[in-house]
Symmetry: D2
Subunit: 490 residues, 4 copies
C-alpha cells in the first residue's frame, strides 16, 4: 500500500526469465545474521530487488531488518548487523512476488513474521503458490488481515488458524493447504526449519558450519561461509533443526519429484551442485549437445555474457571452432531505481554490452545464449554484431523454445509475449534476422542433465512446463483468471 518510487528503467535485462527468490538460514553459530548476510550475497542472482533477515536472541527476542537493494549495500554494515543478534537467523532475497507487479513495497519483503499463542515464527519462501488467491479470499472472510500482497503471507495466516499446538505442526497443517512450489526456510525461537514441496520444484540444501547447521537455496552459498554440504532436503521433506539435531518428517503424500530443469539452464549459479551435478558442467554439456544437434560452419563461438559462457565453451570444444569473447560486458551495470533521461534509457543494451569489434570483423559468428524469451535483446545483439562487421550470425540457444509461462516462482512475461508461443523456429529466425537459429532439443537438454534416454513424456523427471506446457501442479488461480492450459498430447 505504501506508495514507493516506480522504476521505469531497470537495467536488468527484461528479456530473461528471472528466479524470484533465494532463502538461507543458520542455527547454532554466534552472530548468525552475519552468516545469513553472506549466504544471501552468494544467492543475490536469485533476487536483486530486496532482502531481509530475521534473527532471534534469547535476551533481545526477534529482530528483523528488510531493505531494498543489494545485500552488500545493506546487510554488511556494522550498525545494522548489530541490531540482529543471536545464534539463529534466516533471510530472503527477492526479485518480485506474485502479488505486486513491479511495485514492491517494503512490507512485501520477506521473511514474514507471525506471533502465535506459543511464540513467534518467521518464514522465508522461494516458489509460488498457485492457489493463493483462493486461500486469501477464504482467510479474509474468516478475519485475517493481510499486510502484504505476497502469496507467501497465506502460509503465516494458515499457521495462525491451525489447531495444532506447536509451530512445526502448524506449519505442516498450513503447507498441506497450499498448492504450488515452495522451498521454505523458517525459524521459531529454538528451531530452524526447512521444507520442500512434494515435487521439489525449487532447490533447498542442508549444510554444516562449525557446530551449527545451514539451509540454503544453493550450495554456492554454503561455500562462501565455509560450510560443508551434507545433502539436499528431499522433495516433500521437512527438516526441523535444533542446535544439535536434525529431525526429518514427510508431511505430504509422496509424489514423483519434478525439479525445475531451468535451474540447471539459467537460474542457479554455475558453481552450485544440484542433484549431484555441477551446474557449470551441465551447461557446458548443453553446449556439447547443441554442437552435435545443430552444427554449422563458422569462425568463432562467442557467448552472450555471462550466462551463455559455459555452453559456448562446450560448443566450441565439441565443434573445434575457436572460442572468443566477441561481446564485452560492462562490469559496472547494476540495478538502480532512478528515472534516467530519455536519451540514456534508449541506450538499452549498449549500456551493458559492447562488441569486441576487432575480434568480430569479417567472421562468421556463432552466438551462444541461454534462452530466448521475448527476443528483443537477441535482435539488438544481432544488430550490434552485424554493425561491427560480422560476416554471418548464427544463434545457438542452450534451452528449448520457451513457450509457456512459469507459475512456480519465476517471473515470466504473459504467454503472448513469449516469442516461441507465437512463432515457429523458422519464423523466429526470420524475426531475429539471423543466418540460422537453433535451440537445443528437450531430449538434448535431458541428456545434458544426465537422463541418457532423453525425456520420458509419460513421466518426465523434471518440471519443464516452460518448454512443454506440461504443468505438474494445476495453476488454479491462473486458470480461474482464464489461462488456457495446453491440450494434453494424445
Amino acid at each position: 500500500m505504501d506508495a514507493l518510487p516506480r522504476h521505469p528503467f531497470d537495467p536488468r535485462d527484461d528479456d530473461k526469465l528471472r528466479e524470484e527468490c533465494g532463502v538461507f538460514g543458520v542455527i547454532g553459530v554466534a552472530d548468525a545474521a552475519n552468516f545469513v548476510a553472506l549466504g544471501l550475497h552468494a544467492l543475490q542472482h536469485r533476487g536483486q530487488e530486496a532482502g531481509g533477515i530475521v534473527s532471534y536472541d534469547p535476551v533481545q527476542g526477534f529482530n528483523s531488518a528488510r531493505r531494498f537493494g543489494y545485500v552488500r549495500d545493506n546487510f554488511t554494515k556494522q550498525s545494522l548487523m548489530e541490531t540482529l543478534p543471536g545464534e539463529l537467523a534466516i533471510g530472503h532475497v527477492r526479485y518480485s512476488t506474485a502479488g505486486s507487479k513491479g511495485n514492491t513495497q517494503i512490507r512485501d519483503v520477506q521473511p514474514f513474521f507471525g506471533e502465535f499463542a506459543m511464540g513467534g515464527a518467521a518464514i522465508a519462501h522461494n516458489g509460488n503458490l498457485v492457489n493463493a488467491d483462493e486461500l486469501r479470499r477464504e482467510l479474509i472472510e474468516r478475519g485475517s488481515i493481510f499486510q502484504s500482497s505476497s502469496d507467501s503471507e497465506c502460509i503465516i495466516h494458515l499457521m495462525a488458524r491451525s489447531l495444532q499446538r506447536t509451530i512445526p505442526e502448524r506449519m505442516k497443517d498450513a503447507l498441506r493447504r497450499v498448492e504450488g512450489a515452495f522451498s521454505v526456510v523458517a525459524m521459531t525461537r529454538t528451531k530452524l526449519i526447512g521444507v520442500r514441496d512434494p515435487l521439489g520444484v525449487r532447490p533447498l540444501v542442508l549444510g554444516r558450519v562449525g557446530d551449527g547447521y545451514v539451509l540454503s537455496s544453493e550450495t554456492c552459498a554454503l561455500d562462501i561461509i565455509g560450510a560443508e554440504f551434507l545433502r539436499e532436503v528431499e522433495p516433500g521433506e521437512m527438516v526441523v533443526i535444533t542446535g544439535t539435531t536434525v529431525e526429518s518428517f514427510k508431511p505430504f503424500e509422496p509424489k514423483r519429484p519434478r525439479f525445475c530443469i531451468f535451474e540447471h539452464v539459467y537460474f542457479s549459479r554455475p558453481d552450485s551442485i544440484i542433484g549431484g551435478r555441477s551446474v557449470y558442467e551441465t551447461r557446458r554439456q548443453i553446449g556439447v549437445e547443441l554442437a552435435r544437434e545443430a552444427p554449422v560452419e563458422a569462425d568463432l563461438v562467442c557467448p552472450v555474457p555471462d550466462s551463455g559462457t559455459p555452453a559456448a565453451i562446450g560448443y566450441a570444444h565439441e565443434s573445434g571452432i575457436p572460442f572468443g569473447m566477441g561481446i564485452i560486458r560492462n562490469q559496472y551495470m547494476g540495478r538502480t531505481f532512478i528515472e534516467p533521461t530519455e536519451q540514456i534509457r534508449n541506450m538499452g543494451v549498449r549500456l551493458k554490452l559492447n562488441v569486441n569489434r576487432a575480434l568480430i570483423r569479417g567472421k562468421r559468428v556463432i552466438l551462444v545464449d541461454d534462452s530466448v524469451v521475448r527476443g528483443t535483446t537477441s535482435r539488438k545483439i544481432k544488430e550490434m554484431i552485424l554493425d561491427a562487421g560480422a560476416a554471418e550470425v548464427h544463434f545457438r540457444i542452450a534451452s528449448p523454445p520457451t513457450a509457456w509461462p512459469c507459475f512456480y516462482g519465476v517471473d515470466t512475461p504473459e504467454r503472448e509475449k513469449l516469442l516461441a508461443a507465437t512463432m515457429t523456429e523458422t519464423e523466429m529466425q526470420h524475426h531475429l534476422g539471423v543466418a540460422s537459429l537453433r535451440f537445443v532439443s528437450l531430449d538434448g537438454l535431458y541428456r545434458a542433465v544426465g537422463v541418457a534416454q532423453g525425456r520420458d513424456a509419460r513421466q518426465p523427471a523434471y518440471c519443464d512446463a516452460c518448454f512443454s506446457g506440461d504443468y505438474p501442479v494445476k495453476p488454479t488461480d491462473m486458470v480461474a483468471k482464464g489461462f488456457k492450459l495446453a491440450e494434453p498430447a494424445e
Copy 2:
C-alpha cells in the same frame, strides 16, 4: 520488529507530559490528502515522531504513505503527495504508542489498514486502550497475526472478526469490545467515520470545507484549511459521513462525559476552542486563579516559554506585577534522531532556553510554568535564573501536582518518577531550591475551565486522574501488571 535507529538524545523536553496523537480526515474535496497534510501540520504539537496519510481514489484504490519526522518535511512534497490521490483521506501524527517504548517502527505508524471481505478500511486512533494486552492475547489465540506493537491494531482485528456485514457496523462491534480512550477517524472507500469513546476523553471536532467535511482533533486544524467549525463529535457518538450527509449514531451505553482537563492545561494549542472555550483564555484564567490563590511580592512575572506564557499573562494582569520575557527560547530546536556528542547532550536545557540576563538581574522573579513532571527541568531553569543574578525565584504552576500516570493516550513517566507522587508541595519546594512553589488548586483549575463551583468530587466533570488518581476507566492491563490504584477517599 524492524530494528530502527535508536534516539538516545531527544531535544524534546522529557520533563513534560506528551499527547500521543492527532487525527484528521477529509471527504468531498479534490486532493484530499493535501488538506490532511495541512491539518496534520497544524496538529503537529500532538505528535512529532511520525505521521501517515491514507487516501482513496476510485481508480487507484487505497494508497498510503507513512514517514518518520515532521509533516512539513514529508507530506508537502509534490512527488509524495501525487501518490495519494482522491477526495477522501485520513491522517495521523504520533508521539509514541503504548506498545513500543521509545523504539517506534514504521509499521507502528498509523493509519492502519485492513482488507475485509466487503472492502478495505483505514483507521487512525488518538487515545489508548486499557485492555489491549488482554484483547491481543485473545485475538492471537484465535489466529490474528499482529503486524505492529500498537494497541490500536486490536481495533482492526476485532473488525475483521465481526459478523456484521458493513464496515461501520463492524467498527461499532469492535469498539464495544475495547476499553479506554479513543477518538477514531476512519475511512472506507466511500465514507469518512469519526467516533469518540463514551467518556469523550480525547477531543474530536467536525467541520465543513467547500462541499466536503472534515474531522479533526482540534479546531486549530480547521483554521489552517479555512474550514468552518460545525460542532464537536459528542462523547459516545459515531458520525458516518458521505460526501453529502452526516449520519449520527450512539453505539455505546451512555455515560457522563469526562473530557481530559489536561487538554486545556497543556496538550491543545492555545488557538483551539474546546467545549466552547478558548484554550488560550482558559490558560490565562488559570494564571488569574493562581495570582489569587498564591500571591507573592515580586518584580517580574516571567513565563517558561512557550507553554507558560498565557498563564503568566493572566498572573501578571491579576497581580499588577510587570510581565517580561526573562527566558528566551531558541527557535531552531527541533526533533532529531541523531546521537550527539556527549558534550552537546550535556548542554540539555541550555540548547533550548537562555536567560535574558539584563532583565532578570537583581529582580524577584515569578516563573510561571504549565506543570511539573519529574522536576528536572524546573531545577535547571531555577539555576539558570539564579546564575543570571535574580534575587529570588518563585515558581507558580498552572496545574495541580501531577501525581498519577495517564493511561488514556498520554506519555507519562512511571509513577515513582513523578515528583508529586513522592513529595509534598513543601518537599518539592526544597527539592527545587526555590523561594516558593505553588500549584493552582484542582478547584481553581475547574473554575478556570468554567466550573464556577470547583470540582465535584462525587462526579467530576473532567478526567483529572493525573492529579487526583481518580481513573474513570479501570486501567485493566496496568492493574494486571501490578499498578496500584489510589484508595478511594471515604
Copy 3:
C-alpha cells in the same frame, strides 16, 4: 558552479530583512569544535541556510565540514564532530551571500581556507564588502582562481598576494584593501583572530571560557557555552589571541563608529547585550516610544510573533491596554528545501501563523510588528485578524519605514520592492487596509537605544541607512551597477 536543488518554497518569511551571517571561534579548550557547534546553534537566527566549522589539531592538521541546514541537524553528530579535533576552531552560519542570489552551493559556505607559504588559515566573515566586484576583477587578472561566488573569498586572495611574512600581517594588508562591513573571525595553526571594520557595523564580542577565549557575533552564544563576556571587539580593532594572550591592534585609520541600528530592532537575539544595552530592553523601550508617539484607543495589544513581542509588551505597559497573544505561531515551521504542492505553497502565512479567534473577536486590536518590508505579510495578517472578527486593526511598527536597501551584510529586496520606498505612510495605511499605521520615528528609535537627544543628522551615532539612505560607506559596486544614492539633504 555545482548545480544544487533550488528552493522555490522557503517558509522563512520573505517579508523580513535577514541578517546574513553569524561567526564564532574558540581557542584553548579541548574539542573546540563542539563549542563552536553550540555557539553557532545559538547564532542560528543570523543564518539558517548553511553552516561550517574548521578546526586545527597539531597531529591531524586542519579539518573542516560544511553542511546545508541547521546546526543542530549536522554539527551535533558524534561521527561528524570526531572529524574536527583540536583546541582551536572557528565557524560560520549563513543565510546567503552577495554573490549567489538564492542558489547557494556548498563551496560558498564558509569558513574559507587558504594555504599560504607560512601555513594555512581559515576565515569566517559577517558583513558585506561593497567593492568586491572590483577586487575580484583585479585579482582574476593577476591570476587568482576563485572557487566561490562569495565576496568574502576576496579576503583570502588578497592575503595570498600580500608581501607580509605573517598571517596576521597579511590579514591587515588584505582588510585595508576592502571596503564595507566586516566582522571577521579567523584562525591560523596557533592563533584565533578577530577584526571589525573601522565603523564597527556588525557586532563582535570577546569572551573567556575555561582557560581559553571565545569570539562571537553576539553574547547569547557566550551564554550557551557558559563563557564569560569580557568586552566587545572595538570598531577598527584586530585581536590576535593565542591560548594565553590577547593582543590588540588598530590597523585602520580611525573613524567614528556607526553600528547597525537594525541589530537592535530585529537581527540580534533579545537575550544578547549590545553596547552595554539589553536588546530585549531596547525593543521594549521602542514599544514605549511608540505608545507615546502614536497612541490609539483600543482593547488589545497583540504582537506579531515572535519578533514583535518585546515592543508589544512595552506598548501595552505604557498605554495601559491589555497585552494578549492574538496570533499563535506554529512551532513546527522551519526551513525546508523541498518543492511543495501548489496547494500547500499557497497557504503561505497560514502555515506559520493562526489567529486566536476567541481573543480577537469584536476587539479593536493594535498589532505590533518589528518592521514592514514589502508589506505582503502585513496584509495577510491584517486579513486574518479581520476575518476572525476584529473590530479594528491598528498597526504599530517598531522601526521607521524601511526605504533603502542594506549593502552591509543584510539581505534586502531591491529598492523598488520596499513598500516605504514608493509610498508615504498614509499610502501604506491604505495599501494595507488598516484603521491606522504608525512607525516609530527615527528620533524615537535613537532614544530607545539610549541617545536621549535623538538622531544627530550631521554625525549619526549608528548606521541607519535602511531608514535614512545615509550610507556611511559608499556602495561602490552597486553604484557601478546603477544604484542611485539619496540626494544629500541640504
Copy 4:
C-alpha cells in the same frame, strides 16, 4: 579538507594496480552532458571512486556536478542531468589522486574549473604530474590558493598566471611547465581541447558523433554513443575543436613516444583499440606467448576472472589444454564505502570469487592471471583451489614481475610491498605455495603488442617502468622524498 567518511573496507581487489582516471568530452551535439555520462559509464573501469561533469550553455553558463560513486548511480538521473545543459561538456572519472591517499573529498573530484580574465575553463586530467609538489610550493609562494589536494589543480593555477591572451595559449604555457603523464580534456565556452604529453603515456582518442566531435580515453566509450573513431590524439599534440573544425598544435619539444604498456595488459577495456591493436587480441596473444615460454602438463586452463580470461583463452588454444571457468565471480560485488562487520570483512576474496569445485576436483590446474602485485590475492586463490581438491596449481602471469611503482597516473603500492621487488621468481613460487609460477617475459610482452623483435633496451617503444624500473620521466617529487631509482644497467 572536508572530512569525509573513510572506507576501511573496499571490495575492490587491492592486489591490483589501478588506473586512476578516465576523461571524456563532447562538442557540437545537443545535451552533450548525456553523452559524457554514457562515455564515463563506458570508462568506469578507469576510476570508480567519483565522477564529475562540466557543461556550458550560452544562456546558463558553466554548470557542473561532481559525485562520489558510480556514473550510473548519479549521472543518469533526469533531475541532475537537466542541470547540465548545453552542447559542450567534459567529464572525468577517478580512482584517487596523487594528493589524497584514500581520503578523497568532493573538492578533489574533477573537472576543475577556473575563471580567467577572458572567461572560464574546465579541465579533466588523466595521468600524474611528477613535479606537482615543486610547482605547488612555487605557486603558493606567488599567491595561489589551492582548493584541492590534486596535482592536476596546478595546471589551472599555471594557466591563471600565464601572460598569454587566450585559454588555449595559456594551457600550452601551463603544460610546458609540468612534467609527467597527462592526457587532458578541457573546455572553454566555445572550444573542446585535448592534449597528450610528449611521451603519450596515457591514451586519448578523437571521434565524431553526429555533427560534433568527441575526445575519450578509450575507443570503447566511442562505441557506447555510436561515435566513429577518427584517430588517436598524438603524443605531444594539442587539438582545439570548435563545433566545426579540429586544429592541431605541437606545443612541446618532440620526443620518442613511450605509451604505457600496462594499458594493454590490464587497464584498458578488452573491447578498446589502442595503437591500431585490439586490446583483447593483445591479451590473448600474451597467453599464446606464455604457453610457448612456460608450458606445463595440466588438465585445465582456468582464468582468474575477469581480467585473466583473454590470456587464458590464448594459453588454452596454444597449449591444447581445455579452457574452463574454474573460478566463478559474484556479479553483485561492487564498490561501497560502508564499514562492514569484522566477520564480513574477513571474508575478503570469497565475497567476490568462488571455486567451481566440481570442475576443479582432482585436476592439475593452470591459473592465468594478469599480474601479481602484493601476492595476497594470489595466495588466497591458490588456497581456495587446493581446498576444492585440485591436484596441482600452476600460476601463469600475463605480465612480467611488477617490481617498480608507477608515477604516471597509476595507483601502486610502495615499492617494498611489491612482491617482485623483494623476491625472485622462485622465491615467489615458494611464497605463493604453487607447483609452478611463471611470468611472461618482457620480450614476450613486447612481441604480444606487436614488436616482433622484443624490447629494445636502448630505446624501448613503451613505458614499462613498472617492470623494468626504466622511468622515461624522472619522478622529481618522489626522488626529493628519497625514492631510489634503479642503477642504470651497464
